[in-house]
C-alpha cells in the first residue's frame, strides 16, 4: 500500500504526517493526533458524528481519506472555542439541555457553528435542513434546534 507525506493544519497548528493510503481523516485525528472529540460511529457517512470542517466546510471525516486532505485546514470541536471560553453555540447547548448522552454533540456544535457563520439569522426550517446530516441517537432534536436558534439570536 502506498504511503504519503502530508501536511495538515488542525485547529491552527501545523502537522507533518506520513499516512497510509487507506487511513481516513477520522482515524488520523483520533488515533494519531489523539483528538477524540470527533466521534467514530457508523463509518459510512450516514450519521455525521465525525463531522469536521475542511477549509471551513462541514465534511464527514469517515469518508475523507487523510491523503486527500493534504495541505488543507481542518477544524475539530477541540478548536471551536477560544481556550476555556465557549462559543455561542456551545453556551446555548448547555443552556437548553441540548446535550443528552453527548456523543453527537461535537458534530452538532461544529455543523451549527459553520452554518451560523454562513447564515447568521436562519429560520427554524433552515436549521433543520442544515443539521439533516447528523443523527442524534437520543432523538433530542427539539433542544438542539432551540439551542441553535437561540445562539443565532445572540451571535
Amino acid at each position: 500500500m502506498s504511503r504519503h507525506k502530508i501536511s495538515l493544519r488542525v485547529n491552527g497548528q501545523s502537522y507533518e504526517l506520513e499516512v497510509e493510503a487507506n487511513r481516513t481523516l477520522l482515524q488520523v485525528l483520533r488515533e494519531e493526533l489523539e483528538m477524540t472529540g470527533t466521534k467514530h460511529a457508523c463509518e459510512r457517512g450516514d450519521c455525521g458524528l465525525c463531522t469536521v470542517l475542511i477549509d471551513g466546510v462541514p465534511t464527514k471525516s469517515c469518508l475523507a481519506l487523510a491523503v486527500e486532505v493534504d495541505g488543507r485546514e481542518v477544524t475539530t470541536v477541540e478548536g471551536i472555542s477560544k481556550g476555556e471560553e465557549l462559543n455561542a453555540v456551545q453556551r446555548a447547548f448547555i443552556e437548553h439541555g441540548a446535550v443528552q448522552c453527548g456523543f453527537c454533540t461535537p458534530a452538532f456544535i461544529i455543523a451549527a457553528t459553520a452554518f451560523l457563520k454562513r447564515n447568521p439569522h436562519p429560520t427554524e426550517e433552515e436549521i433543520k435542513e442544515a443539521i439533516g446530516g447528523i443523527l442524534c441517537r437520543c432523538t433530542g432534536y427539539r433542544q438542539i434546534i432551540d439551542a441553535i436558534l437561540d445562539a443565532s439570536r445572540k451571535v
Binding site: 500500500m1 502506498s2 504519503h4 497510509e20 493510503a21 487507506n22 481516513t24 463509518e43 459510512r44 457517512g45 450516514d46 455525521g48 463531522t51 466546510v57 462541514p58 465534511t59 464527514k60 469518508l63 475523507a64 481519506l65 491523503v67 486527500e68 455543523a111 435542513e129 442544515a130 439533516g132 446530516g133 447528523i134
Partner: protein, 285 residues
Amino acid sequence: MIPKFDYLRPKTTEELVGLMAEYGEDAKLLAGGTDLLVLMRDKLIRPRYVIDLKGIGELRGLSWDEKRGLRIGATATLNELLESEVVKERFSVLWSAVGVLADPTLRNRATLVGNICNASPAADTAPALLVLDAEVEVAGKDGERIIPIRDFFTGVKRTSLKPGEFVRAVRIPNPPEGAKGGYYKWGRTRGEDLAVVGVAALVANSGRRIMRVALSSVFKTPLRVFEVEKIFEGEGPLGEQIERAVSVVREKIAPITDVRGGKEYRLHMAGALTRRALEELLGGS
C-alpha cells in the same frame, strides 16, 4: 477499516487516461468518495488502485452559456450546483433533485457525475438529467464520445462506459422556453434516505406543449417514460391528459419489493407522485 490500496492523484486527463489503461479493472476513480469508500469498507469492491480525480483542474466546476447550456465537471460537488443561481433559475428540476439528495454535509463532497456513475436505480439526479436531455461527455484512450443520458444507464449499477473510459462532464442543453420542472421524492423519512419513488417532471405550456416524466427507484435503471410525451401534444382537457399519463407511467415501470417499500406501494406512489407533479407544474400555466 478500508482494505489496502495504492492512492494515485494525476494532474492531467492525459495522465489519468494512462493510469486507467495501465491498471484497467484494478483501478477505481475517486471523486467525492461517498459511494466508493463505503463500497470499499463493506468489501463489495477491492480496487488495488484508487485514482483521485480532484487534482485535475479541467474536471472542476460548472460553466454555463446562453448557447451551449450547462456543463458540470466530474468533480463539481452537489452543493456547488445547489448554490448556483443559474441552476436554480434555469434548471429547476435538477436543482430540486440535488436539494433532496442525501444531506447537506454529504453534498459538500458528493458529485453529480459520481451519482450517475454509481448508476443506482435510486440515483436522485438521474430522472432530472433524463427529462433535461443531458449528455455525458466521456473520454478514454480511444478518444472522446458523447453518450445521451437515456443510453447511459444499462442496468442496476451498470453504465455504457467501456473499460478505460471516464466521464469528464455532464452537459445539459438549456430547457425549452417557458419550461418548469421539479423532482418529487417520496422517502420513508423527510431526511437522508434513498427514494421509495422519485418522479422528475419537466413541462411547458406556452407555445410548444411539452410534458416529460422520468422516475427513480421503480425500474432496473432510472427511467424516462417517453410514452407520456405524445399525450400532451394532442387535444383534450388537461385533467384527462394527466390521468392518461399516470396510467402510462404505471404500465411502463417495474418496481420491486425491498426494505424501503413493497412493489404495489411503489406502483401506487409512482402514479400519485406523477399526478401531483403534473398538476402542480401545469396548474399555474
